[in-house]
Amino acid sequence: MQYLPNILFAIILIVAIAFFTKNVSRLRRNINLGKDIGSLNNKPQRWKNMAKIAFGQTKMVVRPIAGFLHVIVYVGFIIINIEVLEILIDGIFGTHRIGLKFLSTPVYGFLIGSFEVLAVLVLVSVIIFWVRRNVIKLQRFLSAEMTGWPKSDGNIILYFEVVLMCLFLLMNATDTSFQNLNSGNIVSQFIAPWFDGMSANSLHAIERTAWWLHIIGILAFLNYLYYSKHLHILLAFPNTFYGKLLPKGQFKNLDAVTQEVKLMMDPDADPFAAAAEDASEPEKFGASDVTDLSWVQLLNAYTCTECGRCTSECPANQTGKKLSPRKIMMDTRDRLEEVGKNIDANKGTFVDDGKQLLGDYISNEELWACTSCNACVEACPVSIDPLSIIMDMRQYLVMEQSAAPSDLNNMMGNIENNGAPWPFNQMDRLNWAQEQ
């Protein structure tokens, strides 16, 4: 019976890790439904971007208040996790504060003391975040796409963090032997007196309960990630690594089109030549569903934490148009999840569900409102590129469906006929030089 807690702990840990592994493999599978992008160039620059943007949070602090609070929560998250290591060892081997065996009391106290201070700072930040979302009601948290689950999701994450930090402080405050050390209980020494007069047994029971709830909470949170917008705490790193390195204005040239154009321009090409035997189905132009997007665009979708900086910088959104770059990312993820579940339900193959990203999630009206100004791309703190998805979907609308607004069809007709977007004769192109 003596080993019961250890066994229980090991079971909980194994179940949590198994669940998490399953979710990670599902995540990988879904992301890999996207198109291959070939090999990556310039890896040194990519590592640098990851270090700067994800690890160094350089783009978070562009907005100083949210940025500063986020850095606190982020640093707290990373550093307090050192404590989780001790908890895991204690849990498996039935030890208590194993750190004290390896570290001198002052060093151990310094560590735990820093965690306690960080825990308080995280608590304060998280409460301010909650107030921003629910009391001040910042515009960017109130958009149409931020109702229902996305809104609850945002709050659940904050509640999770509040509970975890409180449990950590409570666990320290009710740990009599730790309090007696009088080293590192910087914050918890002020909480300990709340329990004065309690019996040693009750104190121990509270300490144990807090300890167990704390670690179970952390494991639950780990497994909540996949169902939440909070995946960014893991995916921000690969996402900034795979982010676009080209100038923001450079959109990719479609190779399939280049082949055709070259053939058209080749005076020796035989226009009546039969298609080659091995000619594959002509490639679909642009994107109407998530599987037409690249896997990096799908990774983008899972990385998005719905902060809405993109949408608040979007000129179309600012002037009341339907387009919201954040919604483009959320729709892409929702549709990808739907496709993933379809594959799971049908033993590994996708069965047509009569739905697609275009139309069922993202409307033409949203796509045509974009000015391609790159404000959303610039605003994203984790290198997500909503613009590339918008452009791929426009490509599908125009090249596969000829569904451009009529004004744009006129413009393109003019370019085709007279080499300018307006109906002017190409032979008049130099007339300005003679005009006074």
Binding site: L246, P247, K248, G249, Q250, F251, N253, L254, V257, T258, E260, V261, K262, M264, M265, P315, A316, Q318, T319, G320, K321, K322, E365, W368, A369, T371, S372, C373, A375, V377, E378, M391, R394, Q395, Y396, L397, V398, M399, A404, P405, D407, L408, N410, M411, M412, I415, E416, G419, A420, P421, W422, F424, Q426, M427, R429, L430, N431, W432, A433, Q436
Partner: protein, 263 residues
């Protein structure tokens, strides 16, 4: 002052066995739009004054394909690109200058992959270079002390990280450069990009150019400076909408310099 513009074409120079220092890519707006033609002429006046050896393609120039590509028509874009590249490569073009950030971006970034490799500069970068090389001189003249705000074109600024060349030129005019609350990386679009210039906007509460004009007017400028013919149109319309056209002028950087020099 001789008011006739000297605008040699690549074909003329080629026939005479000459190669200009730089090709001036005029662009569709610069060729056909009445407002933008003034920018083209102002820039040519400066080039003439500085004795820059340049040429235009004239009737051999065609749309770069930018609006087609941003509208989703990759095929039309590449047809335009390949045609233009054939012409430019035949003339062995090495360097291109253009007053249109959309042409600039497309020529600079999207043509190399299709066989068109040129050094491409925006006219504000080119003018700054002329100034640094002492080939043009600039004194503030009538712009001395005037409040000028600069509207960053998306395809020059965010798209290609060119923020300082136009600003340096404004400072050289001894003008007071005032920044809008959204400038440089955070500059707000004028509303014309992504082929929006050629269509009606989607339903909304306001037009983008009005929003941007309001931001510009907040700085109480005497002049709104632009570096893009489309931004120029959008901001000019915005200023008219606010009935401020007598108090606030919308001018291209090239026009500012040409006017300051009485060209």
């Amino acid at each position: 002052m001789d008011s006739t513009l000297k605008v040699p074409t690549m074909a003329e120079l080629f026939a005479a066995g000459q190669q200009p220092e730089v090709l001036f890519w005029v662009g569709c707006a610069g060729s056909f739009d009445d407002r933008a033609k003034k920018i083209t002429k102002a820039f040519v006046k400066i080039l003439n004054k500085a004795n820059v050896s340049f040429a235009v393609l004239g009737t051999e120039e065609s749309c770069t394909g930018d609006p087609a590509k941003r509208a989703g028509n990759e095929f039309l874009f590449q047809m335009q690109a390949v045609t233009n590249i054939e012409v430019m490569n035949a003339y062995e073009v090495k360097k291109v200058v253009t007053a249109c950030p959309h042409c600039f971006n497309t020529l600079k970034n999207e043509y190399p992959g299709l066989g068109g490799n040129y050094e491409v500069v925006h006219h504000t970068q080119f003018l700054k270079q002329l100034l640094e090389e002492g080939r043009i001189s600039m004194e503030g003249g009538q712009f001395k002390g005037k409040r000028i705000t600069f509207h960053d074109p998306c395809y020059l600024g965010r798209a290609n990280n060119v923020y300082e060349a136009p600003r340096d030129l404004i400072r050289k005019l001894d003008a007071e450069l005032v920044e809008m609350k959204n400038c440089k990386k955070k500059g707000l679009c004028c509303g014309a990009g992504g082929a929006q210039m050629f269509k009606e906007p989607e339903k909304g509460s306001k037009d983008v150019n009005i929003e941007r004009t309001e931001q510009a007017l907040e700085t109480k400028p005497e002049i709104i400076a632009a570096g893009c013919p489309f931004c120029n149109t959008m901001m000019t319309d915005g200023v008219k909408n606010k009935e401020k056209e007598t108090a606030v002028a919308v001018m291209d950087i090239a026009e500012l310099i040409a006017t300051a020099e009485d060209l």
